[in-house]
């Protein structure tokens, strides 16, 4: 299988042609440095993203901002958002507090990035 991706390591933004066989990267073309290859490997086998969101706090007009502590698998972004959409937090919430543990079975906690007293 062939895939086209854009390297995000620097502003050059090399267009990489990645060849995959049985889910393994066998060939990377189009990169102008070694970082392109590493990026292609990661991005084509286990793409991951940080997810951030604003979650409502009961009785407050201002939501609290949250993030996954580490990147989660890309295909878990929308399931994660759906789970976050059901959350109603109760003040006080402090920066760093876990607001949702092990989101979507990823093993990653969602933590507050702001304090609401």
């Amino acid at each position: 299988m062939e895939r086209q991706i854009t390297c995000i390591n620097c502003p050059v933004g090399c267009r990489l042609q990645v060849t995959l066989e049985n889910g393994q990267v066998t060939r990377v073309e189009g990169q102008s440095c070694k970082r392109g290859e590493t990026y292609a490997m990661q991005e084509c086998t286990a793409p991951a993203r940080m997810v951030t969101a604003a979650v409502p706090v009961q009785g407050r007009t201002t939501p609290v901002s949250v993030k996954t502590r580490t990147p989660i698998p890309k295909e878990q972004i929308f399931p994660c958002m759906r789970q976050l959409a059901t959350l109603r937090l109760t003040a006080p919430v402090r920066m760093g507090d876990v607001v949702l543990s092990n989101v979507c079975g990823t093993g990653v906690d969602v933590i507050a990035t702001k304090t609401v007293e």
Binding site: T6, P11, G13, T52, A54, S65, I77, T115
Partner: protein, 427 residues
């Protein structure tokens, strides 16, 4: 002349900082750390932190803290330091005027009108978004057209969505970030439309905010019509030629209830102009020297009010320097030397600083920043003193979306003989 009654109310402050966003906080921290006791920060909003408060996405702090923080987390580190140092910050306080003698008028609900005589002022008011009116796009004046930052405030700070079907005009970073945010929160983003043949945003944002969600980026396209009676009902998008004129016959229609504008940022310099500071038409900020002092002695500028940055890390770094410089100024640490001017050469736009002191004694390294005027691959930036090259650096790529920077070392500065230094990009 002030009446006697008023003049008794004038509070004397050594360093006064206008704005408590990332720039103002860094400047205040640096001034206090340099030993300034009499220090005051005035902030218009109810909280410190500035625009970072609504930037809940991650990606801040990689340079400064070597880790990836969200906007609120980045801001909190400076807020904590400001509090730790016991710096007085008056929130909810709007500065109304600054004059050339550093006399400042401000107003707040709690304290009413407040008058200050400042030894030095650091301007750190940040920037504003270019509004719809600046674009001249035809169409009705319906609801549903917002700047991207306004939508960001609605979603992230006030907790409601401005619409369900969205077109984004402009591919600046805030527009890209909002394309992802609106998508994550359940809206459908139909397209991101960019008049230039390249995006104005960071590459990472194009991949992670548009490509991740299959949002088309229409380069060399613009919105040519806005429709809707009360609420926006659709926009017409057309391809543009090299002169950015719409090409007839290329129109396509999008049914949408929201149009977000991410079409540039303008430094907010009303107070700067009032103070009689010389402005740069290119950066739309003050003309400053290598210590970030404006043409008015004792008035300094830093952060997005000076020139629009891409990364907050660089705003903080610049503002620490401005805060230290303001401290030096009120502590009487003056420099002797000869000023040379720094100018934009080919391919370079908005060099900061525009003035450089060639000191009689020891020189300090000077950070020079500018924006490339176009996309240049395998190009070289050259700093020239007349015919004499003082610095040459090759780079794989220059793009207008990414501020370029270089450091002039003390020996380079001391070697300058002429009165003009030019920065240019050679392809």
């Amino acid at each position: 002349m002030l009446s006697n009654e008023l003049s008794e109310q004038v509070q004397s402050v050594d360093v006064l900082v206008v704005g408590a966003g990332p720039a103002g906080m860094a400047a205040a921290i640096a001034a206090r750390e340099a030993g300034v006791e009499s220090l005051l920060v005035l902030e218009r909003e109810a909280h410190m932190g500035g625009i970072l408060r609504q930037c809940i996405h991650n990606g801040f702090g990689l340079h400064r803290f070597k880790e990836e923080l969200t906007g609120p987390e980045y801001a909190q580190r400076d807020i904590d330091r400001v509090n730790e140092l016991g710096i007085e910050v008056r929130c909810g306080t709007t500065v109304l005027s600054i004059d050339e003698n550093r006399f400042v008028t401000a107003i707040s609900k709690e304290k009413g009108v407040q008058l200050f005589q400042a030894g030095a002022i650091v301007l750190a008011m940040g920037c504003r978004e270019r509004p719809r009116g600046a674009l001249g796009t035809p169409g009705t004046r319906c609801a549903g057209v917002y700047s991207a930052g306004t939508a960001q405030k609605f979603v992230n700070l006030e907790g409601y969505m401005p619409g369900k079907r969205v077109v984004i005009l402009g591919s600046g970073d805030i527009g890209l970030i909002m394309a992802r945010r609106m998508t994550l929160q359940g809206a459908k983003v139909l397209a991101c439309v960019e008049i230039m043949p390249y995006s104005g945003g960071l590459n990472r944002n194009i991949v992670q905010c548009l490509e991740d969600y299959d949002i088309p980026l229409l380069l060399s396209h613009t919105v040519v019509d806005i429709q809707g009676k009360d609420r926006l009902s659709g926009v017409t998008v057309a391809k543009v030629d090299e002169k950015r004129n719409p090409i007839p016959g290329t129109e396509q229609h999008f049914d949408c209830d929201t149009l977000l504008l991410s079409v540039g940022l303008i430094p907010e310099n009303e107070l700067t102009r009032q103070a009689g500071v010389t402005m740069s038409a290119t950066t739309q900020g003050a003309v400053v020297d290598d210590r970030l002092q404006t043409s008015r002695e004792g008035i300094f500028a830093c952060g997005n009010v000076l020139h629009v940055h891409d990364l907050v890390d660089f705003v903080s770094a610049e503002s620490f320097r401005a805060g230290r410089a303001a401290a030096d100024y009120v502590q009487g640490k003056n420099r002797e030397g000869r000023y040379v001017s720094m100018q934009d050469g080919n391919g370079v736009r908005g060099v900061v600083p525009q003035q450089l002191l060639v000191p009689e004694g020891e020189a300090e390294p000077v950070q020079v920043m500018f924006r490339p005027a176009g996309v240049y691959e395998n190009a070289t930036v050259v700093v020239r003193d007349g015919d004499q090259e003082i610095l040459r650096r090759r780079k794989r790529i220059f793009t207008p979306g990414e501020m370029a920077e270089l450091t002039l070392k003390p020996d380079m500065i001391r070697s300058i003989e002429g009165d003009t230094v030019t920065v240019e990009i050679i392809v």
